[in-house]
Each structure stands twice: as structure tokens, then as C-alpha cells.
Symmetry: C2
Subunit: 445 residues, 2 copies
């Protein structure tokens, strides 16, 4: 008898019913990735600790480290972006449209109601390689749009901003260059905290000039659809060359979104900051809207042109990248609730092989062996002489549509009974026709 019987804090087991939903959702997500010609890669669950250092800002404290058992110092991956960049730097691949669906690890405070765990899946899509402006960037949001559509989630907004616009705002508000990052990480909290609290942090803790902070607030309250970019291009932000270029790029981005018929869900929002260190240009965040639970953002990403070079062992090595990461756990929570309310159960096994009476085990095995040989999904009891009602109950519990039944009479007469569990009707068919008949009925389901 064990003293402790549990899985690690914030990490979950998934039983067969949950897995059926997960497999269905992952298949849909993969289908969208493949529709865009994305290729899968896989990387280890561990990385050298050094690779993960200085990539995640304040959140680096959430990294799981392995014990030093002699050899390399390792840590569990925190996201799929840094391992992808390490893979690109190491393999010297300069062009790749990749996807990866895998678990990541964060020693965060678990909060199941908000879909926050210590072990969870991310679905990442990234385009690496020198490109013309905004072509890969717009495909990233297009892909998330298609995924959410295919999953039946229709109420969401894609928030967009650009690090150079934030830099321009900070410059116009007289923030010194070396404080851009720390101000940025406070602004990032605007969707969780009220402005007075953030102002307090900026002025009291981070010692930023109060006039500057008040000025910043005027900017970061602004947001809007495509015409918003035109307005910004008329504002003083456009007097700064780098910021003007970023606004021109967002204008082109918006034109591409129009072609993709997704501009109606795109909102430009100057308060969007994203906490991670490695983004340098466009940044995105997707939030569910409407009546659904308030579970925050479900996807986020952006452009990180310098991360591969930073990890590379070659000088002046450069692979510009842009990508988006879907936090599938939150989406799964919604879909699980939806399916549960619809009472739908996903079906896998096609036929249950039953027997009645003693000494039927070997005949049952012969029969199920024929079904397996025909690639019909079939199961039977692990008891030699199970009760018929128990076998029928198994069919119903598992949502199995057909059941074949044999007893002494059927074997002697070379027949089987075929039961349709939905219609609750049985017919007798010749033993040698069972595969043919089942295939015909399964084709009609």
C-alpha cells in the first residue's frame, strides 16, 4: 500500500473519454497546419538549461530544472519557440514552415478553472526565413482563424500591435531606452490589472517619471479596426522613422487580412505588449469574446527575428521568424463542455463479439479473429463465459453499433446472430457472410 497516490501538482491524467475529444481536436488542428503546407518537427522535452536562460523575462523562475545527476544541466521546455529556434540554429536550416504539438512545463500556480496547468499542450505554427514584409505574419493569424472556425469557435478577436510602435510611444513620452523593456512588461498587465495599479508600479516601484506615465496612458487606451492605422499614420507617431515603417507594415498586414476575409476580427490595440523578451516586430493575441467563460487569451505570438542568431554558434547568423502558439487546453475546456451538454459520445469500436453458454471461448476467438483480419474494429469479453446482458451493457456503455452473438445452436448450424444495438433488432446470417454483412452495414452508418 503506497503512502502517496496522486499525479504531480498541476499535471493531469486523461482518461479514454477525454482522449477521444483531444485526438479529434488535435486532428483538426493538424489538418489546418497541413492545409498550409506546414511540416511537423519534434524536439526533446528537455533542453540544456543554458539554452533557456534569459529568454522569458520575469517568468524564468517558472522553469523546471532537472537534478544534477552528473553530466549536463537540463530543464524541461517552457515553450516550443526557443527549442524551435535552437533546432534552426543547430541544423543550419534557414527556411521552414513548421508545426509542433507538444507539452510544455511551467512551475506556475495551477488554476484549473482558468485552464492553467503546470503541464499543458501548445500547438505552434512558425514560418522561418527571409520574406517580404507581412506575408508570413498575415498567414499566422489566418491559420489561427481557420483553426478556431474548424473547431466551431466563432466569437473571438485578434489583437495586433507592433513592438516598434510601443518603442515610438515610449520615445515620445521621454522614457529612456534602457527602460523600454521594464515599462513594456508593466503595460502587458493592462488586461489583468486596472490602470491605477499599473501606474503605481511604474511610478513607485520602477521610478518612471509620472508625467511620462500619464502620457503613455493616453496612447495605450487607443485601439480600432483598419482605419485606426490610417489615423495613426496622421499622428505624431508617424514622425519617428521606425514607427512610421511599423505602421506602414500594419497597413499592408491589414490589406492581406482583407484578402483572407479575416479583417473583421482584427483589432489594432496599442496596449498589447506581450511579456517575452524575444519579440521585435508585430505581436498578436487572440481572445474569445461573447458569452463564453472569461479565460483570457487562447493564442499569442509575434515576430522574433533575432532569437535564432542569439542561439547560433556562428557569427552574424540570422534567421528571421514569425509564429503563433495556440494554448489548446483552454479551447479543449470549452469543447469538452459543449460536447458534454450535447450528450455526444465519440465512437470507435464497430462490433462486439458475444457468446452464450459454456465452451464457446474458442469459437468466439475464431470469429473475432476473422473480423480483425478484415480490419473491423472488434472486441469481446475477457471472461470465458460472460453473461449476455453484461455483454449488451458493454456495447451500450461503449456506444458500439453492432454485436454478433454465437451459442451452441449457431455454431452447429453455421450461422451467427447479428444485432443492431440502435434498432434493437437481430437477424440470423450465415457464418461465412459475417464480414461482408458487417462491412455493408458499417458503410451505411
Amino acid at each position: 500500500m503506497a503512502k502517496v497516490l496522486k499525479s504531480p501538482k498541476g499535471m493531469r491524467d486523461f482518461g479514454p473519454n477525454q482522449m477521444a475529444i483531444r485526438d479529434m481536436v488535435f486532428d483538426k488542428v493538424k489538418n489546418v497546419f497541413k492545409r498550409h503546407g506546414a511540416l511537423p518537427i519534434d524536439t526533446p522535452v528537455c533542453e540544456l538549461k543554458e539554452i533557456l536562460t534569459d529568454k522569458y523575462g520575469d517568468d524564468s523562475k517558472l522553469i523546471y530544472e532537472l537534478q544534477d545527476q552528473g553530466g549536463e544541466l537540463l530543464a524541461l521546455r517552457y515553450d516550443l519557440t526557443v527549442p524551435f529556434a535552437r533546432y534552426l540554429a543547430q541544423s543550419k536550416i534557414k527556411n521552414l514552415k513548421r508545426y509542433q504539438i507538444a507539452k510544455v512545463y511551467r512551475r506556475d500556480n495551477p488554476s484549473p478553472n482558468q485552464g492553467r496547468y503546470r503541464e499543458f499542450y501548445q500547438c505552434d505554427f512558425d514560418i522561418a526565413g527571409s520574406s517580404d514584409e507581412m506575408l508570413p505574419d498575415s498567414e499566422c493569424v489566418k491559420i489561427i482563424y481557420e483553426i478556431l472556425q474548424d473547431l466551431g469557435l466563432t466569437s473571438f478577436v485578434i489583437k495586433v500591435n507592433h513592438r516598434e510602435i510601443l518603442n515610438g510611444i515610449f520615445k515620445l513620452c521621454n522614457i529612456p531606452d534602457d527602460q523600454f523593456k521594464t515599462v513594456c512588461s508593466s503595460i502587458d498587465k493592462l488586461d489583468k490589472l486596472a490602470w491605477p495599479e499599473i501606474k503605481k508600479e511604474l511610478v513607485d516601484v520602477k521610478k518612471i517619471n509620472e508625467d511620462s506615465v500619464n502620457q503613455i496612458y493616453k496612447y495605450v487606451q487607443q485601439s480600432g479596426r483598419g482605419t485606426f492605422i490610417d489615423n495613426m499614420l496622421e499622428s505624431e507617431l508617424a514622425t519617428l522613422p521606425e514607427t512610421k515603417k511599423a505602421l506602414d507594415n500594419l497597413k499592408l498586414f491589414d490589406e492581406y487580412c482583407k484578402i483572407f476575409h479575416i479583417d473583421h476580427v482584427v483589432e489594432y490595440d496599442l496596449s498589447l505588449a506581450r511579456g517575452l523578451d524575444y519579440y521585435n516586430a508585430i505581436i498578436f493575441e487572440i481572445k474569445l469574446t461573447g458569452n463564453t467563460l472569461d479565460i483570457g487569451s487562447i493564442a499569442a505570438g509575434g515576430r522574433y527575428d533575432n532569437l535564432v542568431g542569439q542561439l547560433s554558434d556562428a557569427k552574424n547568423y540570422d534567421v528571421p521568424c514569425v509564429g503563433i502558439s495556440l494554448g489548446i487546453e483552454r479551447v479543449l475546456t470549452i469543447i469538452e463542455k459543449k460536447l458534454a451538454s450535447e450528450g455526444k459520445q465519440l465512437r470507435s469500436t464497430q462490433c462486439y463479439v458475444s457468446s452464450v453458454g459454456p465452451d464457446m471461448t474458442k469459437e468466439r476467438l475464431k470469429l473475432i479473429n476473422d473480423l480483425w483480419a478484415a480490419d473491423i474494429r472488434a472486441e469481446h469479453s475477457i471472461k470465458a463465459a460472460p453473461k449476455l446482458m453484461q455483454q449488451f451493457k458493454n456495447c451500450e456503455d461503449r456506444n458500439i453499433p453492432f454485436c454478433v452473438i454465437i451459442g451452441r445452436n449457431e455454431v452447429d448450424n453455421g450461422v451467427v446472430k447479428l444485432r443492431d444495438l440502435n434498432l434493437r433488432k437481430e437477424v440470423e446470417i450465415p457464418r461465412e457472410k459475417v464480414v461482408e454483412e458487417l462491412n455493408a452495414r458499417l458503410a451505411k452508418l
Copy 2:
């Protein structure tokens, strides 16, 4: 510039070409599991350290432990069997036919030539629940047979033994009860070491009586097909009640194997021991034979009736289990070599969208957007005005069968060129027919 640029020792990245093969193989394995009505479960990559203690004999030293960062002491899973048993004990589920395909972790000496890594996939199939003798046990070997057949591996032997037969041998050779396990673990090495070395370990290191050791050797050299069990039933082994029962069970097992048409690959081998602590009855090991590389066993398993009870927090809790684990990495090594020698490349993207000349980017995006909307797998360049030859080269490199091409003339005339990359032939078709025409051609591939 990073100081170290590598993945952890013994852990690998998989690029798109390797992943295409892996996905194909995993799909085939899953298909067999589902054919037998097995259901997927998923467990965390970490377990509480305590759960893994005392389960793996001498190999416990290979467990990866996480750093104590405050909170629970964790370790990476060593196999999928103990986490499954923990899941059963915790969830109180008493009947389940499950499969799980996931990575496990061992701080072993990596040896890529023998397919031995520190992070590798296992494909596990287990049947939990009280059953009649040998029904789930025979299904385990049947499933491995089907998987290997479906993967095109036809030369293999399924070795079978029973822990109670080994116990009977040790008893007849006058080994004290408390030395059964240590003798067993020496015998387990017989397929890697010659007998004199094992004898030396038993006599010199483990201080086992030399006469007993010589007697054991007479037994463990014996092996054979089904009739071998009949011979053993006539031998002095059958005088011990537990061993007699085990032999009767293997006889029934062999009859079930005959019904499944797999008895021709089953060999009963008294030297098969399996090192793990938790097996208590039938044990299996599958080895490739013939001209393939000598890569040892590719699958192994057995019955472990007491493990769930050992992990449970309830008294006298019991869930008998039997299972088999396929070490898919070794199988993948063989299949990768086979596919490479056949020069086959797996295909995913169906159409490449090309443009010629300047100012075609938006027209290209409109066209690809229509293909995506029709669920046609399509990609295009991330450059605004890529060279045509470079675009054709991309198609060839990626084994993409079709390419649609637009330039100023095509756009003005409302047409596109459709190129068949295999035939190297182009036709002009109306712009509005492109989805229809592509679907018709893709259906014929």
C-alpha cells in the same frame, strides 16, 4: 552567440522527413490498437519520485530526477507501465483495455547503432481486469503480431516463458526462495552474455551453490514450439503444483495462438527471464530474426497482477493486468532504412501557388485563399516576387504534384496555368474552375 548549441545527450530532434515516417508508423500502430477496441489514455511525463521507487530492480539508477525547487519530489517516467498502474489505482478503474504512445526517459548509455537513446517512444497495450486464463495474455501477442505484419516486418520470433516455471526450476535446483530474484536477473542476461560469465556471476559474486547453477543450466537451454509444453508436462517440473498450473496455462495459451494463426512464430524458451520486479506470470519478448541488423528485442511484456494493489491506497485492492510494450525506435530505424533504400518520399502538400512578375502578391493570396477554403493543401513563397524556377524547384524538393501559375496576362484574362509536375505539362483553365479541376486531378492520384 551561444556557448553550447546542442540537444541533451541521448535525446534527438526529428526533422520533417523523419516525422513523416514517424507519423505514418504511429498511425498504423494506433490502427491496430483501435482494431482491438483499445482506448487511449495519457499521463504526465513526471511522476512523484516515490511512485517509481522499487519497481525497476537494478535499473532504478537510470531514473531522471527533477531538482527539488520546493514542493513535490518528481522524476521523469521510466516506462508507461508503472504510470498506468498508478492511474488505475488512483482512478479506481478495474477494467480497461488501454493503449498509450509516449516518450519515456532513461539515463542509460546512449548507443544510436543499437537504437538505444535517453528519450524514446514506447507503444504500450495493456488489458486490466479479472479475466479467465490466457484470454488477455494471448491478445497481447496477437496485437504485436498484427502490428509487425502491418509494418511489413515478417521475420520475428515471439519468445514466451512463465515466472512460475522459473520458480519451479529454481526450487528443483535447490535455490533458496529469497535468492529467486537475484538468480532470475542473472539468467536474464543469457542473450547478451555467454554461460561461463553468467555462471561466474552466480557462483563467485552471488555465492550460489555450483551444483545448483549447473543444474539450472540444463533447464534454461531448453526451448521449443507448442509440443515442448507437452514434454515439460511429462517432466519433473509438472510435479510442482504451481509450475504444473503454469504449464497448463501455457498449453491453453498455445491453443489460443493456434486459433489466431500465430503459433508458428511462438517459441517457449526457459531462459527468458525479464529483469523487472513486477512480472508474476507469463512473460514475452519479441526478437527480429533473419538478415536484419542485430538490434535485440523490439517488444516485451508480461503479466503483473500485483502492481496496482502495491500502488493503491486501499487495502487488499487488486487489479490483475497483462501488457506488452513495443520499442518503436528500433522498428523505426529499420523502416527508415527501408524507405530510404526505396527512395520513397511521403507527400503532403497538394498544390503550389506560383506567380510571375511584379505586383502579383495580392492576386496570389486571393488564389491560395480559395484553395485553402476548399481544404486543398496549398503553399506559396514568402517572397513577394519569387523566381519561377525557384518555385518549380520548391515543388520538386517537396514532391508537390501540382502547381498553379499566374502572371499579369492570366489575371487580365481570368485564367490560371495548371502544371502537372510529374508529366511536366501545363494547361490553361478558367480562374473560377481551378478548385474543381484540382480536386478532379487530386482524386486520380
